[in-house]
């Protein structure tokens, strides 16, 4: 029986204190690893007899501008279809050199998901066969989902951030 505890135990056995940040929210376990190790961890999760996380449900990034040195998180959602267990795996990278190894060799589905992540966050997936923009136009020279690009026009004064629930005092 594959439980969150046994997954954590197996991962710490294999990678020691390199895998950190084990948390559980809404039944799904989440952990992180250094970005150099992302493929090793994914491969281990894929190959291990018991773990068998062979289905990549989702791959995307999150931008945390306040975490200096680990601004971008690449989040993998993995699914073991045999035991029906889901797992969330994160790697953090700085925003100056956002290089993360590509998982396309392991999951064909990662191809477009990584292109989408590159398109919106500028994560440079090293080893990706065709890393170019997918939903936005090719001429775009910025990464729109980063938090420094607010949705509203900044020259407008009638749309205060407080009205939209962020940055307010009340």
């Amino acid at each position: 029986m594959l439980t969150n505890e046994s997954i954590q135990q197996k991962l710490t056995e294999k990678f020691g204190d390199q895998v950190t940040g084990f948390t559980e929210s809404f039944g799904m376990m989440s952990f992180e690893a250094p970005k150099d190790l992302n493929l090793k961890v994914l491969q281990f999760l894929y190959d291990d007899e018991e773990l068998q996380f062979r289905f990549l449900s989702d791959l995307q990034a999150v931008h945390y501008p306040d975490q200096i040195g680990r601004e971008l998180a690449v989040v993998y959602h993995l699914h073991n279809l045999v035991s029906n267990v889901r797992l969330r795996f994160k790697v953090f990278t700085n925003i100056q050199t956002p290089d993360v190894f590509s998982a396309t060799a392991l999951f064909s589905s990662a191809n477009w998901m990584e292109r989408e992540t590159y398109d919106f966050f500028g994560v440079n997936f090293v080893g990706h066969p065709n890393l170019k923009r997918i939903l936005n136009v090719d001429e775009m020279d910025y990464f729109p989902m980063r938090k420094e690009f607010p949705l509203e026009d900044q020259t407008r004064i009638d749309k205060d951030d407080e009205m939209f629930g962020r940055g307010g005092t009340f």
């Binding site: 809404f26 999150v62 279809l81 064909s108 191809n111 936005n136 629930g165």
Partner: protein, 411 residues
């Protein structure tokens, strides 16, 4: 130079080989794409050598928009993902919010939701399957089942007032109770549709021409399908019995008896059969759910939402007469309710497969990050592998039998 080189009207540079293949643009506004996306096909005669897909023509920045909207304003965004089955997207979003907010919905609400979601699944599958028919040259089936999609839309109309982009339901339940007309129309649907579906199947399933066109077109093995992130009917056609409704039941799906139909070869014919079978299963689920709904008597039959004043809009007559209701009304409409912090991935079984909502809240009034896992977007990248080496006409059927919805792909 010998005489043979003078055959060319245009003199090629020395050492170059004359191009033997044809480049064909299928899309972005080609009738066969049934949506706005482009396939650049490299053809050798009529055989496809390679394809390159371009998506994003109707990208509307939903994820960015969602970062500045309170939860209830995100529901209309989800309508526009897979617009053939908007209610499933709406319900998926409400369920995600309810899980994050810790709202427990009453059983009757769950069953009503199941009815609506399965109706949406039928509407989506019947449009997909009849379009496969149209693309193979059989228009009749399409026109025949279309009147029942109309009936499904009338049921939506009775419940929420709109037809295509439904914005149906609210966080915690429905905006109003189902009317008697809605139930009457549902009964009419349950009474008439099975006969029509049986006839629709008769038209196609053992039709020699249809079989010749679809069997062996765009096949995929179970292993490759999983690797490509296939979900929903397309994965099940390859022989994997993965269904979110069974693996991670939501909205009380565990209370229902139904089967997961699977195929073997993963080709267009199997996808067609799996979708047909799923419609039969959906009809059976709706019947069970309707029976369960009818078992609620008296005051229980009036329950259509959970008691969550922080998120569920009070009734208008209360807003005008009660102070409390007025306060909540303003707080909700102005988006002044903070969402508890948390991180959540919530999948539901959309008509095309696993529709996932990845929601991160930092305690503000809008999501910090919201990502939609759109099944179409994930599996469309397998298109090149599916059609490589097949005929041009197969590419058209593969596209329609994958049920590619541009709205879902481009978000």
């Amino acid at each position: 130079m010998s005489d043979t080189s003078t055959i060319h009207h245009i003199k090629l540079p020395d050492g170059s080989i004359e191009k033997q293949t044809t480049t064909l643009n299928l899309g972005p506004t080609h009738p066969a794409t049934h949506g706005v996306f482009q396939n650049i096909l490299e053809l050798d005669g009529e055989r496809i050598i390679s394809t390159e897909s371009t998506v994003g023509y109707i990208h509307r920045a939903f994820e960015k928009l969602a970062e500045r909207r309170p939860l209830f304003q995100i529901t209309p965004i989800t309508d526009r993902l897979n617009y053939c089955s908007s209610p499933i997207n709406n319900m998926g979003w409400h369920l995600t919010c309810e899980k994050l907010l810790g709202i427990q919905t009453p059983k009757r609400v769950d069953y009503l939701r199941v009815i609506i979601m399965e109706l949406a699944r039928i509407a989506d599958h019947l449009i997909c399957n009849s379009i496969v028919g149209v693309d193979t040259g059989a228009y009749t089936g399409f026109l025949y089942v279309m009147q029942y999609r109309e009936l499904i839309y009338e049921i939506y109309e009775q419940i929420c007032g709109s037809r295509l982009t439904t914005n149906i339901g609210r966080i915690g339940g429905f905006e109003r109770n189902f009317t008697n007309d809605a139930f009457k129309k549902l009964e009419k649907f349950l009474d008439e549709y099975p006969k029509v579906l049986a006839e629709f199947e008769n038209l196609f399933t053992r039709n020699r021409i249809f079989m010749e066109r679809t069997i062996g077109a765009g096949p995929i093995s179970a292993e490759r399908a999983l690797n490509y992130g296939f979900t929903g009917p397309n994965l099940r056609a390859a022989g994997v019995d993965y269904d979110v409704r069974v693996h991670n039941p939501y909205s009380s799906y565990q209370d229902f008896q139904f089967e997961i139909p699977v195929g073997t070869t993963g080709d267009c014919y199997d996808r067609f059969l799996v979708r047909n079978q799923e419609m039969w299963q959906s009809i059976s689920i709706i019947k069970q759910a309707y029976q369960k709904v009818q078992e609620f008597k008296g005051a229980d039959a009036e329950v259509y939402h959970a008691d969550v004043p922080e998120y569920y809009l009070p009734e208008k007559k209360d807003v005008y007469t009660k102070m409390e209701a007025l306060i909540w009304h303003f707080k909700i409409i102005m988006g002044e309710i903070n969402i508890p912090p948390g991180e959540l991935y919530f999948p539901v079984e959309g008509a095309n497969g696993e529709l996932g909502f990845y929601l991160i809240s930092d305690g503000g009034r809008t999501p910090y990050r919201l990502h939609f896992r759109r099944p179409c977007f994930v599996y469309y990248q397998a298109f090149e592998e599916l059609v490589k080496g097949s005929m041009l006409s197969d590419a058209v059927i593969v596209m329609s039998s994958l049920n590619l919805i541009a709205g879902e792909m481009d978000a």
